[in-house]
Amino acid sequence: MDVSAIPILTIVTFLPLLGALAVAVAPTSAARPIALGFALATWVVSLLLLVGYLPGRIGFQFVETQDWISVFGIQYKLGADGLSVALVVLTTTMSWISILASFKPIQTRIKEYMISFLILEVGLIGVFRALDTFLFYIFWEIVLVPMYLIIGIWGGANRIYATIKFVLYTLVGSLLMLVAILATAYAYAAGHGNVWTGAFDFEALRAYAGTGGFADGLQLLAFVAFFLAFAIKVPMFPFHTWLPDAHTEAPTAGSVMLAAIMLKLGAYGFIRFAVPLYPSAAETFAPAIIVLSLIAIIYGAIVALVQPDLTRLVAYSSVSHMGFVTLGIFVFTEQGVQGAILQMINHGLITGALFLLVGVIYERTHDRTIAKMGGLAARTPVWAAVFGFFVFASAGLPGLSGFVGEFLVLVGTFVANPYAAAVAAFVMILAAGYLLYMYGRIVLGEVSDFLAALGDHLTDMNPVEILTLVPLGTLVVIFGLQPGLILNLISGTVTETLTVVGPSAPIAIPTTVVVGLLLIVLVLVLARIGWVLLRPRPAALEPEGGAAH
């Protein structure tokens, strides 16, 4: 069918907004069905993209352009390539699943919840769609607000600390990115005789960057700004500490969206904007970023090993897994980028599912402490089976989707730097370690007293919950057996990305980077000790004890 005629991207992007309005006017009782309905509708429409998208082509499709702020040549420009199509479909899918999954847990202020959720979806889809840097930034920021509310209103005990930390942390990065965006645009305009036309148009900018239009100084600074914004979102070590807090406090569906989609924004930003716009800077910083990714991979896994709390464990595993994504992107090899993108999608599916499953148990036990669990296999066999499935998927078991992405990244890394690959591969052991530790601790063994005390409250999964997980499981298997489905979709993106940053074969990691990193760590540790001496009471972001709600 031909979907190029209708402005399908606009429809996909703003259908949820329509839904939000509908929910706003509708009575509270109707909020849930309406929200779900619109989410499903959006999903269906987004599937049309898959149908209409012609894979294997370079460049963007479904492009819609509309002058917006002509003074600065800012446009309302949407477009999609394979990567964004894949991510948008992922987004729409996870959205309706999360909305469905939050029917039961969310019992207060349902309207507000659904509205913020739908607006969140708008922002997320928009980010993956925008081909105008300014528009991109706008969507990027729009995402913040609903997430802020979702964590802050429907979150756990320490939610306000978590949500403010999340917003401020993200804001710092993204505001610097704004400066970079504007500086880039001005550099473009200045390069075109102070004519602003196209100064924010991604394609024009990329073309200009391709011709080496941007001075190295600008590239370095702008790239640093972009890097901060994206690294915080991913999150890369050492900008990751907002993630565990956010995950532990967010409501289940919030965690799902956070893990499944929002973490991808950063990686998407790297592939779409940071690397193509500032190629030389990207190549300059690649070794450092590779080192950070390796640290994230190993470090996240090690910290996950000793987490007492289920969600924190999964959160740190996310840090480790997303490390693979950044690693794959910045080794600049074909397999690396392919693997990174696969890993993005698979991590979305698998971790999303894990959070859903944790939510299922949390809803029955109101507790996530691993130590209190035990022997769930005996009480909730179905849950245990499904959980096991996704745990092994997350451990990168071949045949499930997690494996292919990781392995491709490793191969790509091996091409660039075998030692890096060796370090990264080491995580296979650690991942098995923390995942099986968790699984064995909570699912196997005798039923713990805490669970036994719950009696009949501890029921097995109900049909709705199963329904939310079936699509994810199916996709995990399908992508595990047929990764080609995604690979074909994204081939265009990969080649395009690699045309700007040539697969510069072996990437040497200068010792200066490592030494510098160690020095920074040392300084931080000393600073921390000094801090303890100077300021005994723990620092709280909320001055008036708002943290303790």
Partner: protein, 505 residues
């Protein structure tokens, strides 16, 4: 004075007459809120019509031998002033009436202040600038003390008044020096004289330097730039809330109009000398404002400090112009002024609405559970706060982006300033978000009943919020207007370079 002169100043006259009309009507029908408001709004309407009529005529036109000058900038600012005053008058009654404060005097004094601001925006010489300034701030002192039986109100007022007249004296001394150096009060002449002086190899004379220092200090006080900001928090906290909203907008924007006329148009040739000072002021202003606002528990006071920070952002626009007159610095500043006016007025209007019942403080606790109690109010407040943070798609965001863009265009130290701006924005986010936290993530201490608000207030809020969103989504129109105004200023400046020093008449 010819008929043409009269036509040119007709908006000003209309404003003054409107004020007078309010007083007269109040004499005839004392204490009739509705009547007073109606008269005021009608008067403002007429003033607006005249302003636009004159503005759409051939500009720049001058009257009284160049003392009064109408150009695109004048029209732009006047319309803004009228809108601000109209909104303030609309927001007033809900707060004043329960406290037994007369609306008529309130409206009349406001309109007087407005005519002062209009005078500034249209003045072509130093004397007019000074008179306009005084005509703008004197009513400000009175309004600050408007709740005269309230200790806080009067305390804020006397602080404002004493420091204000102190700074006026300083400012006046500066004017005297400039006058002494150039021997003229005509801005154009001054500009060309100074251009001549700068062109000459000799360094600036100490006298001129002193004059600059005194002038800078004076205006820095009026726009509440650090370290001349001390009056702001106290005056804001003390004044009746709608008046706080007014104080945070009109005198500030008016003072910026003064800066545009005096520093850009008159002292433009000295830009190289005052730019570094402005950069330092901007940095101090936004940083200190935000840092101190972090720890405030009284929302009015917090917004007071935040308004200081916003002054800093606007100063960045000024600095950007100074280092790169070809850039969009002034346009950005003007756009920011407009956006700031509406979002800030809106925020204060919400606070005023909450304080409808006398005795309700403006502390954070007042906002606890507002999102539950009065969802619409909560959402509106959230909107304004987000705009103040600069979250898209709101006016505040685009204004900030515009400022940053101007700074980036200027390059050099301004780029660093841009980075400082965004870091400050991030800090600011914290305390604005705290209000949202209280509104939506805390529950009301005691289930205080939802208040009923007048249609007047709602319409005002509607206007403010709609503007806040529209200016964010479709800023093009305002952007064009602002740049036209800015270019009018440039034109005046460049024209001034060519004027032969001449005496009036």
């Amino acid at each position: 004075m010819s008929w043409q002169d009269f036509v040119t100043i007709s908006p000003l006259v209309a404003g003054i007459l409107a004020a007078a009309a309010i007083l007269i009507v109040d004499l005839i029908r004392p204490g009739r809120t509705a009547v007073a408001v109606a008269v005021a709004l009608i008067g403002l309407g007429i003033t607006a019509v005249l302003t636009i009529a004159v503005g759409s005529g051939p500009t720049p036109t001058t009257a009284f031998g160049g003392a009064y000058k109408v150009d695109a900038l004048t029209t732009f600012l006047d319309v803004l002033f009228i809108a601000v005053i109209a909104m303030t008058i609309v927001f007033g009654p809900d707060y004043l009436v329960p406290r037994g404060l007369p609306v008529a005097e309130f409206a009349a004094i406001l309109v007087f202040a407005m005519s002062g601001a209009m005078l500034i925006s249209a003045s072509g010489d130093l004397l007019m600038l000074f008179l306009g300034l005084e005509l703008m701030v004197l009513p400000g002192y009175l309004l600050a003390a408007f709740h005269k039986s309230d200790a806080y109100s009067t305390e804020g007022a006397i602080k404002y008044f004493l420091l204000g007249s102190f700074s006026s004296a300083i400012f006046l001394f500066g004017l005297a020096f400039v006058w002494g150096i150039t021997g003229s009060i005509q801005l154009g002449v001054i500009a060309s004289d100074l251009a001549a002086i700068v062109a000459g190899t000799a360094p600036l004379s100490p006298g001129l330097a002193m004059g600059l220092a005194f002038l800078t200090t004076g205006v820095a006080f009026k726009i509440a730039a650090v370290p001349f900001h001390y009056w702001t928090p106290d005056a804001y906290q003390g004044s009746p809330t709608p008046i706080t909203g007014y104080l945070s907008v009109l005198p500030k924007v008016g003072a910026f109009a003064l800066i545009l006329r005096l520093f850009v148009e008159g002292l433009g040739p000295l830009a190289d000398w005052w730019m570094p000072v402005v950069i330092v002021l901007a940095t101090l202003t936004m940083t200190l404002g935000n840092l101190v606002a972090l720890t405030q528990d009284n929302v009015k006071r917090m917004l007071g400090y935040s308004s200081i920070a916003h002054t800093g952002y606007m100063l960045v626009g000024l600095a950007a112009w100074a280092s790169n007159p070809a850039g969009d610095g002034i346009a950005a500043l003007l756009f920011y002024g407009v956006a700031y006016a509406f979002m800030n007025l809106g925020a204060f209007a919400v606070i005023a609405a909450l304080q409808k019942r006398a005795g309700v403080t403006s502390s954070l606790a007042t906002f606890a559970g507002l999102g539950r109690r009065e969802p619409l109010m909560g959402i509106l407040m959230t909107l304004f706060l987000l705009s103040l943070i600069g979250i898209p798609p709101t006016a505040g965001f685009f204004a900030k982006a515009n400022i940053i863009l101007a700074a980036v265009q200027a390059g050099g130290p301004l780029t660093i300033l841009a980075v400082i701006v965004v870091l400050n924005a991030a800090i600011a986010a914290f305390y604005y978000l705290r209000v949202i936290v209280y509104m939506f993530m805390r529950d009301s201490p005691s289930d205080t009943p939802a208040l009923r608000h007048g249609a007047l207030l709602w319409s005002g809020l509607a206007a403010a919020s709609v503007l806040t969103i529209l200016l964010g989504l479709f800023p093009t129109g305002l952007l064009d207007a602002a740049s036209v105004a800015a270019h009018a200023l440039d034109a005046a400046g460049t024209a001034a370079q060519t004027i032969i020093p001449a005496l009036p008449n």
